[in-house]
Symmetry: C2
Subunit: 472 residues, 2 copies
């Protein structure tokens, strides 16, 4: 794609107002690097529109002039999808100023938001209305809901409430040609033609720019109980999950697995965290039970689950949170595991899902493989046991050269992805494809599926201006 001329840049700036057209190296920098530091892009301008009409005008102008546009939310994505390439030709449209909660309808359990609302702000607004917006993930303090939707974010509440996709009732999307699709429906049931909404969700801004959404709210649980257990193996974790589901049914709202290595990194590098259990265990499981009725019911259920777990020899030890603060502290451990891996040098990441029952076999096989490929490497896996989704991240051997280790990223990815694929798994359970996994996609998708995706892209964005080089 060609770079916009100075005159065209001027026209773009007029649409949003000059104060909302960011230029200058220092000002641009925060928009050009992503959390993992794997991608560092270049752009002539970051446009910060204030409303849908401005987004529409930007895309109309971009398509007419063949200018590539990279949509960006809170810039917390894990696969480089929100970062322009190095050419300096692509412009960024950052949705951060469109941060109004348009309407919260507690009776109908819906909330209508603009794309730039911060996830945590949305959680808090729901809470203030005695409702729950369940999406929760480590980056929630800066992630924007538009980006969450565009990437179909996962997180820690998927087990009970589904992926972001499952929380969306309606969308407003600006198409490549600047037309606005108003699909801001609040209905639970609507069978009138093709479901366009689901096509934009998870498309990572390659089919349109999401500017607004109607989301589901839920009754706020009246009780929650959190346990942190030590276990011998993923197999025991799977058994504990089974016990929890058989006793707790839909009340099991989270089931998070952590390897000893992954929590060890935390205790070593962030001394404010301390191990809630006295002894050491090979694996840990955070289990959360919610009750629509009372704290007592949640507590009774989780106790019943652990009585059975100890009887069956599944758990080695466990602590039940005795207060809200203690629950938060236990969750804090889980949420801190991703960021802390930076402290241990280079980390090669995977975002794998497999059928839940195959999780132990996957972990065993993948661990053996990477330890053979890079002797001394440290698999520090953690993730969402209940969803079959594990972040199989491998830190470099102690003292190894970071760049030399990271140079083996693709090689290790390919090997691990092959195991997941053989088990019917996915190479990107919740982070998306972005730039990072674009080249891997044709290896795990059939030609038929790639062809269908390309035909959709061609129909929705014939000029190819929307987030080029991402996904496809």
């Amino acid at each position: 794609m060609k770079a916009p001329s100075p005159a065209l840049l001027q026209q773009f700036a007029v649409i949003v107002g000059p104060q909302n057209a960011v230029t200058g190296a220092a000002e641009l920098e925060p928009y050009l690097v992503e959390p993992r530091g794997l991608y560092h892009g270049s752009t002539p301008v970051v446009l910060r529109p204030g409303n849908t009409a401005e987004v529409s005008a930007i895309l109309k102008l971009a398509q007419a002039n063949g200018i590539a546009v990279v949509p960006q939310g809170g810039n917390t994505g894990m696969v480089g999808g929100q970062i322009p390439d190095a050419s300096g030709a692509e412009i960024i449209v950052n949705l951060g100023r469109m941060n109004r909660i348009r309407k919260l309808d507690a009776e109908s359990n819906t909330v209508t938001v603009e794309a730039g609302v911060i996830l945590q702000t949305l959680q808090e607004a729901a809470d203030a209305a005695d409702r729950l917006f369940p999406l929760s993930l480590s980056a929630e303090g800066s992630a924007q809901i538009g980006g969450n939707i565009a990437t179909n974010a996962g997180g820690t509440a998927v087990l009970a409430y589904g992926n972001t996709r499952d929380l969306v009732l309606g969308l407003e999307v600006v198409l490549a040609n600047g037309e606005v699709w108003d699909g801001l429906r609040t209905l639970r049931k609507d069978n009138t033609g093709y479901d366009l909404k689901h096509l934009f969700i998870g498309a990572e801004g390659t089919l349109g720019i999401i500017t607004g959404a109607v989301l589901k709210l839920f009754p706020k649980p009246k009780g929650r109980s959190v346990a942190f257990a030590g276990l011998a193996s993923p197999h025991q974790a799977l058994r504990l999950f089974g016990i929890a589901r058989s006793i707790g049914g839909p009340n099991v709202t989270a089931c998070e697995l952590m390897s000893a290595t992954s929590v060890g990194f935390l205790y070593r590098n962030a001394p404010q965290f301390r191990d809630p259990l006295a002894g050491k265990h090979a694996w840990y499981l955070l289990l959360e039970i919610s009750s629509s009725r009372s704290e007592e019911e949640a507590r009774a259920l989780i106790e019943e689950i652990f009585v059975k777990a100890f009887e069956d020899g599944v758990a080695e030890d466990a602590v039940l949170a005795e207060s809200l603060q203690q629950s938060k502290d236990l969750w804090h451990i889980r949420h801190a595991l991703s960021d802390i891996q930076k402290a241990e040098g280079g980390s090669i990441k995977h975002d794998i899902s497999v059928p839940v029952a195959s999780m132990p076999a996957f972990l065993e096989e993948a661990t053996a493989l990477v330890e053979k490929m890079v002797p001394g490497c440290r698999p520090a896996a953690f993730g969402h046991m209940g969803d079959g989704n594990i972040h199989f991240n491998i830190s470099q051997p102690v003292g190894a050269d970071k760049q030399a280790y990271l140079a083996r990223w693709d090689e290790m990815n390919d090997a691990v992805h092959a195991i997941a694929s053989r088990m019917g798994g996915s190479i990107s359970a919740e982070h998306g494809i972005g730039a990072l996994k674009r080249h891997a996609l044709p290896h795990v998708k059939s030609g038929v599926e790639m062809g269908l995706m390309r035909s959709i892209k061609g129909a929705f964005d014939p000029a190819g201006i929307l987030n080029p080089g991402k996904v496809l």
Copy 2:
């Protein structure tokens, strides 16, 4: 589209074997009329393929020769989507022979099925494995799962488990050109590109023919309790639903509203049914509570709900089922309401959804309107209160001419749909568009949305052979 020549018909028959190529007026008849008798089509042949490869061969041949294909499951659809037009040119592909349950994985809570499996057979297979497949609707004894998926069927379990769309993990689809998309994934999380699955779900066979699916299973509730309440108004029903949700939370698994007229038709025309309540009420609500733990918990919850409902003056009377048989009998009343309307002469149907909180206002306004349009007509509404979905069906005035009454179908539909649209509602909550509502669609969708749908249709089925004249 042109009609197939005798030689081409012979080629189609060879693909499935002559015994599975149905011809002859009497044999064809059951495939050509749908439950409401509104559509009576014509076809030279019904092909009954035995596997995916045969479906692929049929479509390859059809596309090469420009022959229109109408996919058909159990022929229980309510909008004529499964019936060919009157030209006699369109061939039917009936999936009924593809009725194998390929694999039921109780540990991973998934089941892989062929499209022709009868819904009730699937429910029973899940039950035998101590699991629940929650989709449930009046026609479940003959409806096929492929048709349920193609139409994104709703039914009585949507409140707790979602629409059919929400129960699908993966699909196998034969495309217009005969290519097979193998999307039979069993994963809970998979963010690898565009979600093609959701595009085929609810597309009513216009984008491809669904031949297989992976579906979610759920733990079977250990307890269920059903109540049948008499109330003064939809407003009180909404209040009762609110009480139920606030006490029962996710344990509220059904909330079905019935007008006095709709149940009155049943008691008058089907004497085997009897009113479970002693007195008469203007509206009735069937409420179901499930428990993952015990019968006792389900019973305790429903009792708590009705104690509160009587305290608040919301319910006039109620009966709680004392046995499994009594629960079934109460459900049987609800399930029989649709079919029995035939006994009262012509019935003009609507399948409306509105935001849940707008349901009382919709019913009031729509009732007043139709009674003004056709004095003496009898609105016999019933439906899924908890989903905001009502079957606002209006029976003819007693003694009126049936054909003259039905001639006002479009006029009455337009008027009622206008009310729903103004409230942000849908003109087809769960039945789809098919042939019946195809002409209404452009009136309730924007030009942008119609354009997007047409571009998808063009990309997936450029020759336009798949179920022409349906949806778009």
